[in-house]
Each structure stands twice: as C-alpha cells, then as structure tokens.
C-alpha cells in the first residue's frame, strides 16, 4: 500500500438516497484521504454510481452530508456547486464526449468556461499537454466517432484532467475494454495521479483494476459500507459476501 497523508478530502456521513420506495444508499459512510485511491466495490445496482453522482451533485441526497474539501456539497446552491465542481473531475462510464465536437473542442470546452481570461495560446498548450499525457495528440482534430473505445476513454480522461481537479471520480473506467487496454487505462490513472497528486474514488467490478489501482477497497452492500481494507486484506477474508468478488 502506498503511503498517504491523513488529510481528508471527502467525508461522507450517513448518506441516504432512495428512488421511491427503493432505498439505494442507507446510511453510507466514507472518508477519502488526500492522495489515496479508494475503490468502491459492489454488485450491479448496489448504488455505486448513485454514490458518486451524489458526490458531484448530479443527484441530491435525501439525508446525510457530503463534505468535499470541508464544504458541504449537499447544501450548496447551483453557483456554489459549479465552483466546487472545478476541483472535482468525473470520468463517465460512457465517456460522455460531445459527439458534435472535435477532440480539440471537447477539451477546450470546459477550459473556456472556467478560465474566461485564458489566452488562445494557453488553451492550445493545455489541450496539447492533456492529449500528450494520454498519447493521443494526433487525434486532436478528429471526431469522437473516429476513435476506438480505448482511445475514447483516454480522451475522456484527458478532458477530466484538463481543469487540474484535486479529486477524480471514475465510474467503471475499464468496463467494456479488452484486458490490454484496461491495463493501459489503469496505468494512466496511476501515472496522472502521481503527476497531479490527486485523490480518487473508483467504481469498478474489474478485479484487476481494483488490484492495480486501490489503496483502499470499500465494499458497498445494501446501501452501507459493509467492509473496507486493502485488496489483500479483503482477498483473505472468509466472509461469503466478500469472497464472492474474489472468486
């Protein structure tokens, strides 16, 4: 396990979220420390994506609190949320690249919105740097439809990183990718984390991804944090609920 400092960047307390009568999160608690990668493990439909959507403010929790850098996300106005979101990156499972824009425009779009006084040269430099980080500088003038699944994921990662977020939320970053490309994405996540000193929450069922990226693994079961520990600690567990993920 990598050495991490103890400063908490995300603190979630007693988070509850229901859709109608279906309670998805039921008193979930989690603390993410600065510089650490926390992987949330859980079955499909267990509320992993709901959890990170609550953290970024795409979904409003029913009760409980989410503090990101000591600010309570659940009580923010829309404008305050927009400000807070500039410190949080989100990598969507579907990549969510704007398909009517070129790769360059996809990367420029958040930059021009957040940094209104930025010069054209600076935008160009940041876009090129972000694409170089994921080895895709040659795709800058291509459309998303011209790229493969792995390339799209890398471009999406470049777009996520371009605003230099301090926390990144990854929604199943390797789902749908072949093992080689998955490994490339995992390495990229680790490389960019090391370079930018970010903290991350990664949602995944890909056990290779969990093993390679996690400082801490949290098992989400029935809306609660069932257990947490390092990958090896959980792998050794004799608890049936935990063992089923490692078989």
């Amino acid at each position: 396990m990598k050495a991490v400092s103890k400063e908490p960047v995300i603190v979630i307390k007693d988070l509850v979220k229901a859709f109608g009568d279906n309670k998805i999160l039921d008193g979930f608690n989690l603390t993410v420390e600065k510089g650490s990668n926390v992987v949330i493990l859980g079955k499909s439909g267990s509320g992993k994506s709901v959890l990170i959507k609550c953290i970024i403010g795409l979904l409003q929790s029913d009760s409980g609190s989410i503090h990101v850098f000591k600010e309570n996300i659940s009580k923010m106005t829309e404008d305050e949320l927009d400000q807070a979101r500039s410190k949080i990156g989100f990598l969507f499972q579907s990549n969510a690249l704007y398909d009517s824009m070129t790769i360059r425009e996809n990367l420029e779009f958040p930059l021009l919105r957040h940094w209104v006084d930025i010069t054209k040269e600076e935008v160009e430099r940041l876009v090129n740097e972000a694409l170089e980080n994921v080895d895709l500088l040659h795709t800058v003038d291509m459309m998303p439809s011209e790229l493969s699944g792995g390339m799209l994921k890398r471009v999406a990662l470049a777009r996520t990183m371009i605003l230099r977020p301090e926390v990144i939320l990854y929604d199943e970053p390797t789902t749908g990718l072949d093992p080689v490309t998955s490994r490339e994405i995992e390495n990229l996540i680790l490389k960019l984390q090391k370079k930018n000193h970010t903290s991350s929450i990664i949602i995944s069922h890909d056990m290779n991804c969990v093993k390679n990226t996690a400082d801490l693994v949290v098992l989400l079961l029935e809306g609660k944090c069932y257990t947490k520990g390092t990958f090896e600690e959980l792998k050794q567990s004799t608890d049936e609920n935990i063992k089923q993920f490692f078989e």
């Binding site: 795409l58 979101r85 579907s94 690249l97 919105r113």
Partner: protein, 256 residues
C-alpha cells in the same frame, strides 16, 4: 391505462412543460449569454431548413393555385385568383404549413439530439464541467427557433407566391408585375403582421417542446426515438391550438 390515470399523466406533463417554460424565462434569459452557440443554432435551424421550407412552399403555392382555379372559373371570378391565393398564403396557409414542416424537421432533430445527449450522459458531463446545460442547450435553441421561424415564413410566403404566379400562368397568361400588384393591393398590415407575429409563438412552441422532450428523455435509445416522435406530435398540435387562439385574438382586436 384507465381514463383517470391518463388524465393525471396529461396534467403532470402539462405542468412539467409549464415549469420547463418558466425555467426558460428565469434561467435562460439571464447572463452569461451563449452568443456563439445561439448563432450556430440560428444557422442550423434557420439556414439549413431553407431548402425544405422553400421547396414545400413552392409546391404549396403552385398546387393551391391549380386547385382554386376551377372553383373561381365556375363563379366567373378567375381574375381574383391572385388575390385569393395571396390572402390564403400570407394569412394562414404559409405560416401554418411552414410551422408544421419546421416542427417535423427541427422539433424532431432537437428532441433526438438532446435525447441522445441525455442518454449518453453528455448533459451530465456539461453539468460536472460547470457548464449550465439549460442555458447552453435549451435557451439557445428556443431563441433560435423563435427568431428563425418568422424569417423562414416570410421567405416561404415569397417563394409560395412565386409558385402561385407560375400556377396562374399554366392555364392563362398573367404578367409578373400584374400578379404581384394584385396580390399586394389585396394585402395590408393587418393581414401580414398578425400572421408573422403568430409564427413567433409557433417557433417558441417547437423549441420548448423539442428541448423538453429531449431533456427529459429516458429508457436509452428507444427513449430517443420516443422523444423525437412526441416532440413532433405535440408541437404540431400546439401549432394548431396557437393558430386557433391567434385567430380569435386578431378578431377581437379588429384585425380581420
């Protein structure tokens, strides 16, 4: 589905569209304005619709003239053909047909585009990037449809009248100058202004309904198709309802 449930869901939908419209006025009209995207949408919605609107308007003018002629000949008032066609096109048929064509082309395209952006999480991606998707996607499109439809209608009316001129000349000979002199002599501002003003509301309805349906699209790719389809159906119905109201209002104001 029982009648009561259908009625409730109709009321829910009406309420949601009203709220969505209210949000357009409260959020969409405040700075920061998305001027670049607005002009881009004006180009897509206005300029790119021109060939279709022009073609249908031309055919409409031609066919209307050919259909009207026999009846006017029966009554011995064939010479009034340019007047009849001009009034029909400018006051009613031009605005309504252009709006229906516009609803079919633009309403469905906005519904499908925003629906597809919704199901592929592109709208969420904008939100997490600190961009206000309502302002960027909805406000720009609604303003563009509201402003572009009146312009398309004016152009459509002109092309339609040209089609009518050709229609008149199929069976008889009327000079271009005489035809348009007769048309414009029969028209005054009380014919033209209400007809153009109502297209502002038609355009607004097409934009709001298309954006509402797309923005609230669910159920994956199937939902995108449903959004596009229901955007066309609902905006077409709204065009007729607005038209009915507009006729009543212009009558009350003494424009007829």
């Amino acid at each position: 589905m029982s009648l009561a449930i259908r009625f409730k869901s109709f009321l829910d939908e009406t309420g949601n569209i009203a709220r969505f419209t209210g949000r357009f006025f409260s959020v969409g009209t405040k700075p920061r304005y998305e001027n670049k995207e607005f002009f881009n949408q004006c180009y897509i919605i206005g300029y790119r619709s021109l060939p279709l609107v022009g073609l249908t308007a031309f055919i409409m003018g031609l066919v209307l003239t050919m259909q009207l002629r026999p009846s006017l000949v029966d009554y011995g008032v064939e010479s009034q053909l340019p007047v009849m066609v001009g009034l029909a096109i400018v006051r009613e048929i031009g605005p309504v047909i252009t709006a229906l064509i516009f609803a079919g082309k633009i309403g469905s395209s906005i519904g499908a585009e925003l629906g597809s952006m919704k199901v592929t999480e592109q709208i969420d991606a904008m939100t997490v990037s600190g961009i206000k998707p309502f302002k960027y996607l909805v406000a720009t499109r609604v303003l563009a449809t509201t402003l572009m439809l009146p312009l398309l209608t004016i152009l459509g009316d002109a092309i339609s009248l040209f089609g009518a001129y050709l229609g008149v000349n199929i069976r008889s000979v009327t000079s271009f100058d005489l035809f348009f002199l007769q048309v414009f002599k029969s028209l005054d501002f009380s014919d033209v202004l209400p007809a153009i003003l109502k297209t502002l509301f038609f355009g607004f309805a097409v934009g709001i309904v298309g954006c509402y349906k797309g923005f609230n699209s669910t159920k994956g790719t199937q939902g995108v198709g449903v959004s596009a389809n229901s955007a066309v159906v609902l905006s077409s119905v709204l065009i007729f309802i607005i038209d009915l109201l507009a006729v009543q209002i212009t009558e009350l104001l003494g424009f007829n």
